[in-house]
Symmetry: C2
Subunit: 208 residues, 2 copies
């Protein structure tokens, strides 16, 4: 069933993802991870030195995957709106496909030991920087309105990440439908209905 060490590592990692997501890092004992992976508690140390190593590998693997996919989009497409659309779709697809892994990334940062923190934070910074590059370029080319690039990137990441917390594959909307709604919401906001209102947001309250 598991002829090589690599495959056993994967089983252990999958068990760790399951338990960290369900009970939290601190509440998930290493012996339970071993049990679910189907090995003796003592044998787990042949593959990972400790529970922290599992957390670091989960975070690193999926954050790298997210970054690589966004780098690919920035290389593949030149048009800012197309890049934005692809980035939104990619973020939502990754977070709904690897729901538990990204939930751990989002909730267990404080469980990282000091020595691992800078590396993992640098991966998060990298993703934000890529997204900010996309937004800045779109603003400079006159496609996106001038706004605070950092805050726009945080807002986008927050709303697209949160999809994973409520999305159900058997729910009323497909991933693609959710992506379409988010693209419109991010690109145009709630208000773009009447040109007069969209051009004069501050005065609109008095016009009604």
């Amino acid at each position: 069933m598991r002829p090589d060490g690599r495959s056993m590592r994967e089983s252990i990692l999958a068990a760790a993802v399951q338990l960290f997501a369900q009970y939290g890092y601190h509440a998930a004992p290493l012996r339970d991870i071993a049990r679910i992976a189907g090995i003796q508690a003592a044998s787990i140390y042949h593959h990972y030195p400790n529970k922290q190593a599992l957390l670091v590998e989960i975070m690193e693997t999926y954050m790298l995957r997210l970054n690589t996919s966004l780098e690919h989009i920035l290389k593949e497409y030149d048009d800012p709106l197309q890049r934005l659309h692809e980035a939104i779709a990619n973020h939502i697809r990754m977070h709904t496909t690897y729901k538990e892994e990204f939930f751990i990334i989002d909730t267990e940062m404080r469980a990282l030991e000091e020595e691992h923190r800078p590396h993992i934070l640098s991966l998060r910074d990298k993703y934000e920087a890529l997204l900010q590059e996309l937004l800045r370029d779109g603003m400079e080319r006159g496609i996106f309105r001038q706004s605070d690039v950092k805050i726009a990137s945080y807002a986008m990441i927050a709303m697209c990440t949160e999809v994973a917390t409520w999305f159900r594959p058997d729910g009323r909307l497909s991933v693609q439908q959710v992506i379409t709604i988010y693209r419109q919401f991010i690109a145009e906001g709630l208000l773009v209905l009447m040109p007069d209102v969209s051009r004069m947001p501050d005065e609109s309250a008095h016009l009604l």
Copy 2:
């Protein structure tokens, strides 16, 4: 210093907020909460039956406060845009003021025992319902574009909640500046620069 039981309860609750936010619910021992509150570990039981009761009280208190403030806004204002602006400001102010309390609400739902979960979830549902009422009314009155009310409410909550994770009182932007940026982002999105683009988002990629 603490002449009555109520004030000791507050000290215990403040200590719980501090430790739950710093280490997580499961990793925060009740004896440390007692120590920080300045009482004997055994005496804590005169005020709260167990650690779970502390978690429930933190969640209930601040979720109720959030709901009450949004209900107040819906009563106070009639114009949908004004209501939206006030709701965004209120959400961001509450989450930056009671940063640790809302961080606990957002990350420790799974730590709630079965018997307390329905009540706390109903408070969250209530807040979403109030926000959805605001959005639906704005769409029906032709101020907001027709879109998925539920998803728009989730997206708004996610992005405004996340401000608490990066906002620093001594940072480059004040709370009010952040609120202004978020209002524009939510109402108008990233793209509202050129009327042609905002009216034809799907074709714009080909026009450039």
